[in-house]
């Protein structure tokens, strides 16, 4: 059974999300900031009657938060809807082979969220767990 992958760009890298985890891709409009929260919580945004928590993927990787980029991937996680702000969303592709285990040491931020590598049309991409991005660095460190 070929898994569908959503190809997107985070912090300048092309990565893949399992498409089954993704509800939709939206254009972020206004973001309401939430003071006194972790750095990767960019704020709140409304999608029809739902309130989505916007996660800044760069910040979740431990990088400086991205100022621009208005594309986001809606991912329900643990009963709450999140919008993961990414640099850009490219395509949905069918995985040609199951993901293979990580065979190389990654930067600390990526190591936390990567679940393996996938081969997409000849390119080797990281398969990223969106839920790990949602948790953010602080919570993972505590766990």
């Amino acid at each position: 059974m070929a898994e569908l992958l959503l190809i997107l760009r985070i912090a300048g890298e092309r990565v893949a999300f399992p498409a089954s985890e993704v509800e939709s891709v939206i254009e972020l409009e206004e973001i309401t900031p939430v003071p006194r929260t972790a750095a990767h919580v960019a704020g709140l945004t409304a999608l029809r009657s739902r309130v989505l928590t916007v996660i800044d993927c760069r910040a979740s990787l431990g990088l400086s938060p991205s100022a621009d980029g208005n594309e986001a991937v809606v991912v329900p996680s643990d009963g709450h809807p999140y919008a993961l702000r990414v640099d850009g969303v490219e395509d949905v592709v069918e995985a040609t082979a199951p993901p293979s285990a990580l065979a190389l040491p990654l930067g600390s931020g990526w190591a936390r969220v990567a679940r393996g590598t996938v081969d997409v049309e000849g390119d080797l991409l990281l398969l990223v767990d969106p839920h790990a991005l949602v948790s953010g660095p602080a919570l993972m460190a505590a766990a």
Binding site: R36, H40, H80
Partner: protein, 769 residues
């Protein structure tokens, strides 16, 4: 019970419906094992349920069918056509009996014949009684629906409401046709109705919470060898489904506690002069948009002293602190983690779930737990919970250009910071605000949220969070009262500890709902007066001599201290002797009037305690509520942000104490006072002077003498008709009874010319003072 039996009816009907296909298949090929198993499971389930609900006819039928089907499954009997139709007849009968329970009709038919038919006996044609009521079966009155679907409907309705609001705004912006507006109003009304109806689908009778209680009480009482009667009332109150689930555990815990710890064994009860059977009452009622659930027992109540002993044992506070606790405060200790009055931890209640968990669970959904304990007579716990989790009345406010919402239930009052009744007082870097003599901590929301500087003209919202004390929150602007549909926020947002949830404003923007107790905690406002011990003062400056300080509680409840050396003595005075005179509070002590500080601007009532202070030249009284202790301390004093009544704060006995600054007190309050009050003489026998003028003169601090006694006075008053009361007076003020002067040299004052009288008295008084 009704709820359960409705479930049973609905479930049986569902199963029969699902089974109808199987039944037909089984009829076609009786040897098919799969269908047989399916039908067997059905009759087995029905047998169990009908036994539970005491429905003997259904039980007999299903029991017989189960026996036969078991025999077929075991291969002892063949499923021939006769057997199949006998079983099907039984299924049909069960179906009609179940319907009959719901409609309240009776099915007149002979079940014995159906059962006999199972054993292969000839199925004699039944003398069918024409049963008219059977034909038009009443439509099902209820359906089962998944909560998830309900939530989707709810979301859809919320979307619709938002879309409607958007449309309304657009219509306001553009001049629209009257007919369009009328149509829009109709749509709005429909939407409001749908919203109400959907909201109600989420409601459930609180009965579902109460049905389990009799069993719990019975089992527990039997286990403990106690006799308990349970009295349940108000089961028809409706509550949000999710709310019911949240309350279930806390309520069960409270009930178990009551049976385990509250109600005494029969022998003890008889000895205490009570009936041997304890009574436990659980009742629910609606009050406004709150549901009150009362759990009361006639047991031994809460032993406040035992709790205090435990608390001291656990190091929660000192014995001295404990002695100051009121009975109510002591009882409140049951909400402290790790305290239980049970002498031994029993298997029943000692499961590590304490009242602290109960309280935090209830508070999490915006509720309150109230305790009313009458030692020896019983205990009443009241859970106050909001009607629904989803819609709460809230106040929307602006801070740093962003909208936030505050639950209406926590708001005591809204007042402009520039209002005359409000006084901001910086204390040791923090701020207090006193509003009509009530002093409380003050924080601005902008500061809490780390935003830019607050707008210059803050509006103060007085908040009283559940279980906490009042504090003042400064916001930039108050917008509106709204009913908000609140949803839980993501864990990462809740982790901030400041928010209770999220909601959407009319314009579709997300709004954060603030959590008043979270804000207080974040601001470092500690409500529990006997807070957990703060770390002991490090012995950093051993070379410093300890100073004796008088530790006392001020009128606003705050702990303050003053250098003992600055205090002359402590006196009790009657508050009747305190008056607001000449623009400030003064207390008369003996023959003197002394400025009174420490009371804010409110006149104290009842007995009043004052510290008498003297700087060698003038007297000062400082009112306070009670003496706590005299301590020797060399604690560091953190200076206050600005000079004032409080010079700084220090850590004394592990608690922050405000240090009163005597220098400031004297500088501000005690203008040098004359050794004696100036004396003013009035002519004798003048009723107007005696009754109307005299109080005015006295209010200015004069001692008033009249007639013969007036030998040595500073000012004398004379009427234009008579001689002054005392000729020895240095100054004479002449008063005339007519407005116009009598002549050029008339320097008298018209008796109702208040301003002239006051200035004359003040000028002359000053000369003598």
């Amino acid at each position: 019970m009704d709820e359960l039996i409705n479930d049973f009816i609905a479930e049986t009907r569902d199963m029969l419906q699902a089974l109808s296909g199987q039944v037909v298949a089984w009829e076609a090929s009786p040897g098919n094992r799969e269908q047989l198993d399916e039908i067997f499971r059905f009759v087995h389930t029905v047998k169990g349920n009908s036994g539970f609900f005491d429905l003997p006819r259904i039980e007999a039928l299903s029991h017989a069918a189960e026996d036969v089907l078991a025999a077929v499954r075991a291969g002892k009997r063949q499923a021939d056509a006769a057997l199949v139709s006998a079983v099907l007849a039984i299924l049909d009968r069960i179906g009609s009996l179940v319907e009959a329970i719901e409609t309240g009709e009776s099915v007149v038919a002979d079940d014995e014949r159906l059962i006999a038919a199972l054993d292969g006996k000839a199925l004699a044609p039944e003398a069918t009684v024409p049963d008219a009521s059977h034909e038009p079966r009443r439509a099902a009155r209820s359906i089962r629906i998944s909560v998830e679907l309900l939530d989707r409907i709810m979301n859809g309705v919320s979307d619709t409401v938002l879309a409607r609001n958007e449309l309304a705004r657009r219509m306001r912006e553009t001049a629209s046709h009257v007919e369009v507006e009328a149509a829009f109003d109709r749509v709005s009304a429909c939407i409001a109705e749908i919203r109400d109806a959907v909201m109600r689908t989420r409601m459930q009778r609180i009965d579902t919470l109460f049905t389990g209680l009799p069993r719990i009480v019975r089992d527990l009482a039997a286990e403990l060898g106690k006799q308990v009667t349970l009295d349940v009332d108000g089961g028809d109150v409706e509550l949000d489904r999710e709310m019911i689930e949240t309350i279930r555990d806390p309520l069960t815990h409270i009930v178990r506690n009551a049976v385990d710890h509250g109600i005494e064994p029969s022998t003890d009860r008889l000895r205490a002069g009570k009936s041997s059977t304890g009574t436990l009452r659980v009742s629910a009622r609606q009050a406004g948009n709150q549901i009150l659930i009362d759990v009361s027992d006639d047991g031994r109540g809460i032993d406040g002293e035992a709790l205090v002993r435990k608390a001291i044992g656990a190091g929660l506070f000192t014995k001295e602190a404990a002695d100051r606790q009121t009975a109510q405060q002591k009882v409140q200790l049951i909400f402290e983690p790790g305290l239980s009055t049970a002498r031994e931890v029993t298997a029943v209640s000692g499961r590590g779930v304490g009242m602290d968990v109960v309280r935090s669970n209830i508070e999490r959904i915006g509720g309150l737990v109230e305790v009313d304990s009458k030692p020896g007579q019983g205990l009443r716990l009241t859970l106050r919970v909001p009607l629904t989790l989803t819609i709460i009345p809230a106040l929307t406010i602006l801070s740093g250009g962003r909208a936030y919402a505050i639950p209406r239930s926590a708001i005591e009052e809204i007042i402009g910071a520039s209002s005359g009744a409000v006084r901001l007082e910086p204390v040791g870097g923090a701020s207090m605000v006193s509003i009509r003599g009530r002093r409380m901590p003050y924080v601005t929301l902008s500061a809490l949220l780390g935003a830019d500087d607050p707008a210059p003209d803050q509006t103060i919202v007085l908040l009283k969070p559940a279980g906490g004390d009042i504090y003042a929150l400064g916001v930039d602007k108050v917008c509106d009262h709204e009913e908000l549909v609140v949803k839980p926020a993501a864990p990462a947002v809740m982790a901030a500890g400041l928010y209770a949830g999220t909601t959407l404003a009319d314009d579709g923007r997300p709004v954060l709902l603030l959590d008043p107790s979270g804000l207080a905690a974040c601001a470092g406002i500690d409500f529990s007066e006997e807070a957990a011990p703060v770390e002991i003062v490090p012995a950093a400056a051993p070379e410093r001599e300890p100073v004796s300080m008088l530790l006392f509680r001020a009128f606003d409840g705050s702990r303050r201290a003053i250098r003992l050396g600055a205090v002359e003595r402590i006196e009790d005075v009657d508050s009747a002797l305190v008056a607001r005179t000449g623009g400030r509070l003064r207390v008369s002590i003996g023959d003197r009037i002394v400025p009174l500080a420490g009371c804010g601007d409110t006149l104290p009532t009842g007995k009043l305690r004052i510290l008498r202070m003297n700087d060698g030249a003038s007297d000062l009284a400082y009112g306070f509520a009670e003496v706590i202790d005299i301590v020797a301390t060399n604690a560091d004093v953190q200076p206050a942000a600005a000079p004032g009544e409080i010079g700084g704060v220090a850590l004394i006995e592990g608690e922050q104490v405000e240090i009163v600054d005597p220098f400031w007190l004297f500088a501000t309050h005690a203008a040098p006072q004359p050794d004696r009050r100036p004396v003013c003489a009035l002519p004798e026998g003048d009723a107007w002077m005696e009754h109307i003028l005299r109080p005015l003169i006295e209010s200015l601090g004069y001692e008033v003498v009249s007639g013969a006694a007036a030998t040595d006075c500073d000012i004398a008053i004379a009427s234009d008709e008579g001689a002054p009361a005392a000729s020895s007076a240095a100054d004479i003020i002449r008063i005339r009874s007519r407005p116009e002067r009598a002549g050029q040299n008339d320097n008298s004052i018209y008796r109702y010319d208040r301003a002239a009288l006051l200035s004359a008295l003040a000028a002359k008084g000053k000369r003598h003072g």
